[in-house]
Symmetry: C2
Subunit: 342 residues, 2 copies
DNA sequence: CTGAAAGCGCTTACAG
DNA sequence: CTGAAAGCGCTTACAG
C-alpha cells in the first residue's frame, strides 16, 4: 500500500493541492461541498499527512527529548511516566535516552537530541556531570530546556526540584526525635547537587540538636547501588559498633543496609534504625517496613513537562520566556525501621 | 543563533550546495581541498544537518516507537532499557508510549506512531486487548513490527516470548517437589495470552503429578496489582484454610500475598509457600526472600530490537522479510518462600 | 471560494 | 572534480 498524498487526492478530485490542504485543515474559506469531497476521499485512502514534510515546513516535530541517568529505577520510571502522560495530553511525543551516569554519554545524548531538532529537552544529570558545556549549547541554540532533580545550579534554565537540604534535615531530625543520636550517613557521590544538599541537611540537623559532627560517620557511594548499601552497612558496624541510626542517600542503598542487617541478625530498629530517601514502592513491603522521604516523582515529571511546554509555546511565538524554578514538597514517611527507641 | 544550512556554507565558500553536501558525506568525488574547506567551515558554524529535511528526503527517521502497558513496572522498565540501549547502538531513537492497559488507548498510540511515520514499532499488548484491527493496520502499511511478551498469536509478525506454559509448569512443579500439593493459583486476566498459558502450565503440572484440578483454587486478577495480592491472599485463606502453596501470575501480586501473610502472622513457607513470576529486584530482598521465575527482560528488549532492525533493513532494501519467533529461556529461582516442607 | 507559486533543507541522478 | 536541477510532501501568503 503506497501512502496517499495531498497531490493524489487533488488529482483524483480535479482540484488543487492548496485546496485539499485547506479543506483537511478546516480552513473557513473552502466550500462545504469541496470539504466533504476531500474529507471523504482522504478517509477512503487512509490519508495521514507526512509528518516529515510537516516538520520541515513548520519547523517543529511535536517531539521532546528526555535524558535520565537510568530507566530501571523506581524514581526515574515514575518521572518518565509523568512526563510521557503530560506530553501525550498535549500532543507531544517523548524520546528517552539514558546517560548511564556517564558524563561522556550524556554529552553524546544531548548532541543527538540537538541534531534531531526536538522541540525541547528535559534532563536529569548524571552523577559524573561536573561540566556544563553541553548544557550551555542547549541554551545557546535557544532550545526550550528544563532540568529536574539532579541539576546544574548555574545553568539558567527552568528547574523542578525538591528542597534536598530541608528534606534530609527532616529525615535526620526524625531519627533524633525517635531517640537515635549517633547517626551515620551514607551519602551520594561528590558531584551531584542533591547529594551535596542532603549531606548539608544531615549536618544541619546534627548541629541544631547539638550533636557534634563526626566525619568518620560519613560514607560516600560511588555508584549508589544495593551492593554499596550492603558493603557500607558492614563497614559502619566495623567502624562504629555503637551506631544508632543510618540515613541513606536513597532507598536502594537503605535496602542494601537492611538486607545485610537482616541476614546477619542485627535488629532494626532495636539495634540500628534506618531511614532511606525517595519512597520507592519496595520500601513499604520490606521487613521491617522502611522509613523514608516521599519525593513526588510523578508530579516532578508532570511539572517538568508543563514548564517545558510554556517555554516551547513562547519560543514558537517568539515571546521571551523567563526560566522558573519550582520546588515540590517532600515529607518524611515514618515506618517500622525508625520506631521510637525504648 | 540561526542554524547553519548547506546553502549558507555554499555561499560563503562560493561553491554549490551539491558539492557541500557531498563533501560533508565524504563522497570520493570531491577534491581534498574542497572537503577540508567545507568541513572546517561547517565545524566553525556548528552545522548539523536539518533532520526534518533529511527525513523527508530519505523517508526514514531513524526513530522507532514502543508501546507498553506501563512504564513503572520492573519488567517493562528493564525491557525498555534493553530496547533503548540496543537502538542507540544502531543509531536509532525510541519514542515510548503507554497503553495503561487500555485497548482504546493502545489503538490511539498505534495510530499516533503510524502518523509519525516511525521506522518500526515494538509492542507488548494491554490486558484488555482482544481485537487485532490496529495491529493489522501496522502490517497492512508494511511497517516493520515486533511483538513481545504479551502478543497476539494470530498476527503474523516477529515475536519475542518465553514459554509461559513451561515456565509456569516448572514453577508449580517446584512447589510440588518441595512437598506442597494443595496449590492455589492467582492468575492474570482472561485476555492476555501469557496469563492463559501460565494457567495452562499450572494445570499441566497438577495433572502430571496426579493432583486433581480444583477450579475454586483459581483466582483471577483484573488489574494485576499489589492490592489484589493482598485481597486474594485473604480470600484464599478464607476459602481454603488448608492451602499449602500459592503460585502468583507475577511478583507484584506475590508480594501482596507475602505482605498480607507477614502482617497477620501466617508463616511462609511453613504454613503457605509462595512463588511469583518475573524475578523483580524486590523479590530478593523481602522477608522471606521470594521464589520466582526469572524472565530475561533486558534480553527480551535487546532481542526485540534486533529483530526489528533486521526487518527495517530488509524493508529499506525492499527485500522480503519472514517474521520469526524467538523464545527466551526462563528458570525457577528457589528462595526462602518455597523451602522444602518439613 | 480556488489555485499558482515559493519555499522549508536536504539528496542524488545526471551532465559536463 | 563540480554543479544545475528535480523532487521529497507539505503550508501559506498572495492573487484573482
Amino acid at each position: 500500500m503506497k501512502e496517499a498524498t495531498l497531490k493524489e487526492i487533488a488529482e483524483k478530485l480535479g482540484i488543487s493541492i492548496t485546496t485539499v490542504s485547506k479543506a483537511l485543515k478546516d480552513y473557513p474559506d473552502v466550500s462545504l461541498k469541496t470539504k466533504d469531497a476531500v474529507i471523504s476521499l482522504a478517509k477512503k485512502l487512509n490519508y495521514s499527512p507526512n509528518s516529515f514534510a510537516v516538520n520541515l515546513r513548520t519547523k517543529e516535530s511535536k517531539t521532546i527529548g528526555l535524558i535520565i541517568p537510568e530507566i530501571v529505577h523506581h524514581f526515574f520510571s515514575n518521572v518518565i511516566n509523568g512526563i510521557v502522560a503530560e506530553a501525550e495530553k498535549n500532543g507531544y511525543l517523548v524520546i528517552i535516552l539514558q546517560s548511564n551516569e556517564s558524563l561522556e554519554l550524556e554529552k553524546k545524548q544531548v548532541a543527538l537530541l540537538i541534531n534531531k531538532r526536538v522541540d525541547g529537552i528535559i534532563i536529569s544529570l548524571s552523577n559524573e556531570s561536573n561540566d556544563d558545556s553541553h548544557l550551555k549549547e542547549i541554551i545557546a541554540r535557544k532550545i526550550p530546556f528544563v532540568q529536574f532533580d539532579k541539576i546544574a545550579k548555574l545553568i539558567h534554565s527552568s528547574k523542578v526540584v525538591i528542597n534536598d537540604q530541608l528534606a534530609a534535615r527532616n529525615a535526620v531530625q526524625h531519627l533524633i526525635d525517635n531517640g537515635y543520636r549517633k547517626i551515620a550517613h551514607i551519602r551520594g557521590p561528590l558531584n551531584p547537587q542533591n547529594a551535596i544538599d542532603r549531606f548539608i541537611g544531615y549536618k544541619k540537623a546534627l548541629e541544631i540538636n547539638n550533636i557534634p559532627f563526626d566525619a568518620s560517620l560519613v560514607y560516600t557511594c560511588e555508584k549508589v547501588t544495593f551492593q554499596e548499601g550492603i558493603d557500607f552497612a558492614k563497614q559502619i558496624m566495623a567502624d562504629h559498633p555503637d551506631v544508632e541510626g543510618i540515613f541513606a542517600i536513597t532507598d536502594l542503598v537503605a535496602v542494601g543496609v537492611l538486607s545485610y542487617f537482616n541476614d546477619i541478625g542485627i535488629k532494626i530498629p532495636e539495634q540500628v534504625a534506618v531511614i532511606g530517601f525517595s519512597n520507592w514502592f519496595m520500601s513499604r513491603v520490606l521487613t521491617p517496613k522502611l522509613s523514608t522521604v516521599d519525593q513526588p516523582s510523578h508530579e516532578m515529571g508532570v511539572t517538568s513537562f508543563k514548564l517545558l511546554l510554556e517555554e516551547m509555546n513562547c519560543h514558537k511565538k517568539e515571546i521571551p520566556f523567563t526560566p522558573r524554578t519550582i520546588e515540590l514538597e517532600t515529607k518524611v514517611i515514618a515506618r517500622e525501621s525508625t520506631f521510637k527507641k525504648k
